[in-house]
Each structure stands twice: as structure tokens, then as C-alpha cells.
């Protein structure tokens, strides 16, 4: 069912479960390194392979990072809590139980504010807990790359035991047709919070940030929420948005036909933007949770928690507010910079000496256009904030005008060197040799006697045509402002 029609008939309720791999030096319960991309099964030991007799020892840095995440998300930090075993058999989980947290999470009841379409939406956080990642299975042969139908499977345990923080929202009603945007904005904001805290590299494509999207629909005006589906394999911000939209459309079609939604796990397909059915959750798997007897309870000291809170870095939303005030830009411009991922770049350009308005102008204008053409994120353009700052400096000193500056940027992006290199190589200096400029002016005045007379008689507005003539004659290299001054001087009206 088309999205608009779906929204006319049904109201969506969202829920998001996000897993963040922490960037700790070592794994959650052993000393193995967490580095990504090592040859398979080289970062393993008796503990993370679950050899008989091995025991876990909790990583203190991971506990600290989780508490900091909880604090940044305005959560209450548990005074006492425990790890729990989540029991189920799967070959990529060496112990056949996952050490996780069940009814005693480290952090509870927080929120994260996100801005969508100029409106602030408060996303309530139910819990933030700490657990360990599983190994990674690769299913070889078969059509789907999934376990069913595969010829054989191989497992890499390098990832097994990497600390994983799970952040679960409360159900999010009331987003209406903005549901896809809200979901995306939430994951974007969460990612920025993680970056600001320095707890994870949050790379969705490497799986260090993974998102499960829960969607249910209820008929407009109903008060009882519908059955939800849980979509996994959502590996980019864009996919988060598309998965929500796709699920709303799919569920609406089923409900409109009088069908019912099955509670199940669904897999998102990047290529089609659609989801397909995974494991049914109707017969709920019984994980037989119980408190992990191999680990001591955690009882974070209150003073320590308070000091962690005091030492939190400036959070992204606060920072955006501050920069907006410092730069004096409108909500709309700020939102545009945020959406374009330009805030860090503008800030760095300002730090390199550029006026905020100029920095914003170049990044959101010429450079955004170039990035768009190249199909790349802004940050991946081959130009540094310092180089952009240098271009703005050349413009404000009069050495370049905007037209030449665009050519300089083009040169830098083409790998011709620094802005100064490009200026030198392409001979892009504004003409500021007064002798040369005066000669051009004399020539233009002689060729445009009528206009010159008008100016002499006080019609200063007519000078525009003369300046245009100078610019044309100099092929754009003249400093237009200086040319105007000299023309008025020569005609005795300055």
C-alpha cells in the first residue's frame, strides 16, 4: 500500500534496539584485542572460545563506558546490578549462552531529544545494558547466504566476546508520517553521542553500530497497539529510514486486507528496501535467564558515577546550540548543516581562522554541490578545513573574488595542491596592479563616453555598467570594488 494511504488509515508505533560495539582495548571478559579485520580466529583464548574450565573477568573500562553512555542518555545508573546468562544454542556463540543483563540493567529510564522538521521529539530510553558479542558465521553455498540451504558454515570467533552495549527505546507513538525520519534522526543522534563520548567508532558498515527496527501499526483512533515486527540487518542510516517506511507499507497492506501481522524477525534487503520473513517469535524462545554465577554483582560507587557525569564531554545537541549561537545562524541553516554532516567541517574551518559565515557558505554551497556530484559525503572530499579557510582568507584580502575562489577549490579537489599552489599554477590572482587597472579603466571610459557623462552628472548608478566593462576587459581578474573606486575618482564624484 502506498505510504500516504497507509498513513491515512494507520498510525505507526516505533521501537529501536541499537547495539554498539565498544572500542575498548580488550574484549569484555578476556584479554584478547578487539581490533577489527584481523585474520579469522587469531584474537581468541580459552575464555572467548569457552574452553572447559575457563572463566570470565569483566572489563572495567567497558562498564565505565556503559555508565557514561547511560549518563549521556539521562538514565538512572543502577546502584547494584548483575550480569545474567541468556541461554540458547548457536554455533557462533561459544558458551551457548551469552553473558548479558536481564532484569537488572546498568542504566534505565533515560531519553534522547532529536530534532525532525524543526520539531524536537523526545525519545524515551528504556534501558542501556552491557553484554558480549557473538562470533561471526559465514554460510557458504546455497542461494541466500543464510544458514538454511548452505553447504557448510564457518565461524570466526574474533568478534566473540567484544563488549556490546544494547540501547533499547520505549515504544515511540505519535511520530505519524515522520516515523521514518524520526527513526533515522534517533540513530544519527545516538551515533553522534557515542562519538562525542569516544566509546565506539560506531561504523554501521563494519557492524560496530547495529540497529533493529520495531514497527507496529494501529488503525487511526485505536488505543491498543498492534503486533510488531522486528527488522534486523539495517546497516545504514538511510536503511533505517527505508526499513520503517517499507514495514509501514507492508503491514498496512496486510491489515487493510483483513490479515494479521505475525510477530517475527524480518531481514532488511538493501537492494530492494523490502524485508523478508525470518524467525517467528510466536513460539517465544525461552532463554532461561539466570544471574551469572561466575561474575560478582556490579555496585557502581555513587561518587564515581557523579564524577563520570561531571566529566562527560559536551553532548552533540548542546554543542550544536552553542555553535549556532556563536555563528549566528538560523535554526533552518543549522539543521541543514547537521543533515549535511557539515558541522564538524565548518567548526574546523572556523578554528583555522575563517569567519563562520564564509566557512558555512563554502561548505554548504560550492563544496556541498561538488560532494553531491561526486556522490560522496562532504567529509570525504579531498580538501581540508584549513584549505577552505585559506581560500576564504584570499577572498577577504581581495586576492581572489568568489568566481576565482571557485576555480581554486576546483583545483584543490582535482589534486593540484594547496590553494596557493592552484592560484600560482593557474595564474588566478585578482588584478591589483593599479597601473594595469587604470589603463583598462581609461580604455573602458573612452569606449563608454555616454555612461561616463551620466556618472559625472551625478547618476552614480551608471557606474555599474562601467565596472562590468572593466571586469569583462580583465577577464574577471580585476578587483571589482577597487575598480569602482578608481572610476568614481577619475570622474570626480568620489
Amino acid at each position: 500500500m502506498p505510504y500516504d494511504e497507509a498513513l491515512e488509515r494507520f498510525e505507526p508505533v516505533l521501537g529501536l534496539e541499537t547495539h554498539v560495539e565498544l572500542g575498548t582495548e580488550s574484549k569484555m571478559f578476556c584479554g584478547c584485542p578487539t581490533e577489527f579485520g584481523a585474520p579469522p580466529n587469531t584474537h581468541v583464548c580459552p575464555v572467548c572460545l569457552a574452553l572447559p574450565g575457563s572463566l570470565p573477568v569483566a572489563n572495567a573500562e567497558a562498564i565505565e563506558s556503559t555508565i557514561r553512555i547511560g549518563l549521556a542518555l539521562n538514565c538512572t545508573i543502577a546502584e547494584w546490578c548483575r550480569f545474567a546468562r541468556k541461554n540458547y544454542f548457536y554455533p557462533d556463540m561459544p558458551k551457548n549462552y551469552q553473558i548479558s543483563q536481564y532484569d537488572e540493567p546498568l542504566c534505565t529510564d533515560g531519553y534522547l531529544d532529536v530534532v525532525v522538521d524543526g520539531e524536537t521529539v523526545r525519545i524515551e530510553i528504556e534501558r542501556v545494558h552491557l553484554e558480549e558479542d557473538t562470533g561471526k558465521s559465514t554460510h557458504v553455498g546455497g542461494a541466500t547466504g543464510r544458514i538454511h540451504g548452505a553447504d557448510y558454515s564457518i565461524v570466526d570467533y574474533n568478534r566473540a566476546g567484544i563488549p556490546l552495549v544494547e540501547i533499547v527505546t520505549k515504544p515511540i507513538p505519535g511520530t505519524d508520517r515522520l516515523a521514518p525520519e524520526v527513526a533515522r534522526a534517533y540513530v544519527t543522534e545516538l551515533r553522534e553521542v557515542m562519538r562525542a563520548l569516544g566509546v565506539s567508532d560506531v561504523r554501521m558498515e563494519e557492524g560496530s553500530l547495529r540497529c533493529d527496527v520495531n514497527v507496529s501499526l494501529m488503525p487511526r483512533g485505536a488505543s491498543e497497539w498492534g503486533t510488531r515486527s522486528e527488522t534486523k540487518n539495517v546497516n545504514s542510516l538511510r536503511s533505517v529510514e527505508r526499513a520503517v517506511r517499507g514495514e509501514i507499507e507492508r503491514q498496512a497492506a496486510i491489515l487493510a486486507d483483513g490479515g494479521r501481522i505475525v510477530q517475527e524477525t524480518r531481514h532488511f534487503h538493501e537492494d530492494t528496501g523490502r524485508t523478508t520473513s525470518g524467525r517467528s517469535k510466536e513460539e517465544a524462545q525461552d532463554y532461561r535467564y539466570f544471574p551469572e554465577p561466575d561474575l560478582l554483582p556490579m555496585a557502581p560507587d555513587r561518587e564515581w558515577v557523579a564524577s563520570l557525569k561531571a566529566d562527560l564531554p559536551e553532548l552533540p545537541s548542546v554543542r550544536r546550540g552553542r555553535l549556532q549561537a556563536e555563528w549566528g545562524v538560523s535554526d533552518l541553516d543549522m539543521a541543514a548543516m547537521h543533515n549535511a554532516d557539515a558541522i564538524d567541517l565548518v567548526e574546523a574551518t572556523v578554528a583555522a581562522g575563517a569567519p563562520a559565515a564564509d566557512a558555512r557558505k563554502w561548505w554548504m554551497g560550492e563544496l556541498a554541490r561538488r560532494a553531491n556530484e561526486a556522490g560522496k559525503p562532504l567529509a570525504e572530499l579531498p580538501i581540508t578545513p584549513a584549505e577552505v579557510a585559506r581560500v576564504t582568507e584570499l577572498v577577504s584580502s581581495g586576492a581572489l573574488n568568489d568566481k576565482l575562489a571557485r576555480q581554486v577549490l576546483e583545483g584543490v579537489l582535482a589534486g593540484e595542491g594547496s590553494p596557493d599552489d592552484v592560484v600560482a599554477k593557474r595564474g588566478l590572482q585578482v588584478v591589483n596592479d593599479e597601473g594595469e587597472l587604470l589603463a583598462i579603466i581609461d580604455k573602458v571610459l573612452a569606449e563608454n563616453a555616454d555612461a561616463a557623462d551620466k556618472v559625472r552628472s551625478g547618476k552614480v548608478a551608471a557606474a555599474g555598467a562601467l565596472v562590468g566593462g572593466v571586469m569583462k576587459a580583465s577577464r574577471g581578474k580585476a578587483d571589482a570594488a577597487r575598480a569602482r573606486e578608481l572610476i568614481l575618482e577619475k570622474l570626480g564624484v568620489s
Partner: protein, 505 residues
Amino acid sequence: MTELLHKTAAELGRLIAAREVSAVEVTQAHLDRIAEVEPKVNAFLHVDPETTLAQARAVDERIAGGERLGPLAGVPVAHKDVFTTTDMPTTAGSKILEGWRPPYDATVTSRLREAGLVILGKTNLDEFAMGSSTENSAYGPTRNPWDLSRIPGGSSGGSSAAVAAYEAPLSTGTDTGGSIRQPAAVTGIVGMKPTYGGSSRYGLIAFASSLDTPGPFARNVLDAALLHEAFSGHDVMDSTSIHAHVPPVVEAARQADIAGLRVGVVKEFGGEGYQPGVLARFHEAVELLESLGAKVVEVSCPSFGYALPAYYLIAPSECSSNLARFDAMRYGLRVGDDGTRSAEEVMSMTRAAGFGPEVKRRIMLGTYALSSGYYDAYYGQAQKVRTLISRDFDAAFHQVDVLVSPTTPTTAFPIGERADDPMAMYLADLCTIPTNLAGNAAISVPCGLADEDGLPVGLQIMAPVLGDDRCYRVGAAVEKALEDRWGGSLLTKAPALEGLGYQHG
């Protein structure tokens, strides 16, 4: 060489340190004894004389090189096959781990090595330490040296039998519900369950994580204390290990003075289900304590009656999760992997073939007890009982310094007698389980022979958490008084293992 077999571990350590006898000679004497009696006793799952003698030679060289090692350097020890060892297979008595060679040493193993002890081999046990008779071993039962038709206790039955049969002066065990104290009691030797967390579980193949405790066996109290001290103490690899010094167990074993000590007799242990000969020896032991200057009172621990059912929910629950890792994927047995079956099928077939009936019974019990909808009624309730038992102990230790009881309600029962009756088997641990649930310390020391069958009876001495030294102090006092009465250790009354060319001196 046989006179070396009769020496205490402390004496052997002294002689080796003084270079009056070499570790190799002592080790060879025990290897010879093992070769002689093993066909009857079956205490060991793995003996490798070459590896063992190489360890002994290395100790002799270190001593010759002037290195000062611990008091047990060069003394042989039999090691329960539930601790990982890099130089010997580790099976936990299960087919599912047959032939598994661990790539790492348990902390207890590495501490034995550091202290210069010589590991004679790996001893038999009930599969995954689940049982009270060693009949649940996948590799055949161990026999009690006092009567080869009877069980040596369990689960550490190989370790108790090896020491009682003079195959080793010392051995290691693990105690989850009585698996050290009960085998010690029925074979007439000393067995100690330290405070939970006092000895490391790292490398101990888990049965029930919140209960498993490594501890020593010996033929006398001082030797047990020396071994206890050698492998105990904080370990960073075990999060549940206690950050405290090992209690002064060796000093306490030497002190053996109990004048003024307050002793509580647990009212709830005794009466129906207890063998009269066991109760008779126990009451004599209590009188003996009084005669040695202790003040004896009766103490009630009303929750102890719920210990057995609580234990049989908690231990199977933990085991059902701990044993999930035996799935044929990374190590151990693999059944049915012929290229046509799924991973789930191979896991299922391997577990069906690799685990014995008692292990399966407990996995099923535990899986059920943890199931959603049953958790509160079973596991949750059992945890509450556990708290009540700890409170009973706390209240009791306000009144008295130690508690005493028979270690086990009966003497060693015949092999096969309870094999088909799990409930009867579980009753063997009636008196020992409360201590596991509360995590405190307890020892079993021999206190005579039951009149009915002439088999050994054990006295259990229970002390508070980290009060391990009290167990040794009282145990040593009882041992000294009884040996004076008997004219030697209780084991001198054991029948010779006939036809095996060995006679008691």
C-alpha cells in the same frame, strides 16, 4: 621403597629438601604402587610415568641448584581429572571430552607446579563431578580400598581412593555438594572443602559455578593443610575468588589445641536414615571434644532440612548452562558429522552420545527449573532457601566457633546398590550440602569404624567463611587424640589389598 609410601607428605617434603631422598625416588615408589594396585582400585584415568618422572627430575634439579621451594616440593600428588593440565588429557570423567588435551593449566594445576609438587596422574570421578559414588564415571567405577566391592565416595572418588590405597600421599578434589568430604569420610582419610572463593576455579571444569570449590585430600590433617596452602589464595582469573590471605591453616593444624573452643552439635543431623554405627562414632567424637576442653552445645539450624531440595535445583540449573558448551563445535567428541546433517543435529547427536544418564538427568532438571514460568517457583525459591541457610549458619556462629555433624549418614555402600535410585544417592550429601550453599568451610576427619560393617566414619567440622583454620585446628586435635587411642592412623586398620604384594607395616 614401601616405607616411602607410609611417610606423611610433610616428612617426604623435608627428606627431599634435605636431599636424603630424591623426588624421583619418591615418585617412582608411588608409580610402582599405582602399577601394583590400579587393576583393582581404578583410581586413575591417566598415568604417564615419563611425564611424571620428568617433573620429579626437574624438582630435584631445582633443589640441587639451591632453589628454596615450598614444603611440598618433590612430593607426588594425584590430580582430579576435572582440572585442566597441559601435559595430560582432561576428561571430567566424560566421553564427551575423551582425549581432550587442554592448551592451558588450571590455576590449581599451575600452583601445584610452582610449589614443586609432582603430578602423578589424573584421578577418576563421577562424570562432570555429578555423583556421590564415582559410579557415574564414563570410564568405570573406582573401588574403595577398604572393601573393593564398595564405592569410594564421589565425585572425587578417584582422589580419595588413591590416597587411601597409598598410591599418592596427597590428592586434589572439588566439592560442590560434598564431593571431597564424603569420599574422605568413606575411605578413612582427611578431606577439606575450603571457603568458596578461597581456592580458584579457573581451569576447573564447571559443574555448578556458585558451589564448586577445589580442596585437598591427605591421610592426615597437617598434610591437607600444607596442600591447601599450596594451591589456594586470590586469583585474578576467577572473579569470585576472595581478595584475602589464605587463613593460617598450617599453623592451625600444628596447634591442635581446642581448650575453651565452643562447639555446636547440629540438632537437625541425626536420627532416622543415619546408620547406628555412624551415630555411635559421632557421639564418641563429641565426647572426645568435650574431654579436650571444648564447650559443647546443641544448635538448631532449622533451614538445613531444605538444603537438599534447594541444592538439587541450583546445581542442576547452573550445570544445564555450564554444560551447554559441549556442542561438538570446537573440541571434544563429534558424532554424526557426515556432511548431510545440520549443526543442530550434530550437536544433538553428540550430546546424546557423549553425556551419561546422570548428567542428562541434571541437565533436564536444570533446564526445567530455569524455564520461564517455573523460575520463581524453583530457582528463585531455592535461592531464598540458600539465604535462609546462610542465616542459620550466621546465627549458629554467633553462639559457637565450629559446628559438628557426621560427614555422611552411612558408611560406604556397595557398588550398584544406589545406582538406580538417584534419591538414595543424593542422601549421601545430606550433611555436607548446607556448607556448599552458604559458601563456608568444612572438613571431614576420620573418627573410627562403624560397628556393623567395620568401615570408616567421618566427623564433619564446619567453620564460618574464611574460618578454614578452625577446621584444621579442631581436626588436628581430634586426629591426635584418636591416633593416641588407636595407636596410629585409622588407615592402619584397613585390610591389606590382598594378593597385590603389599602389607601394612
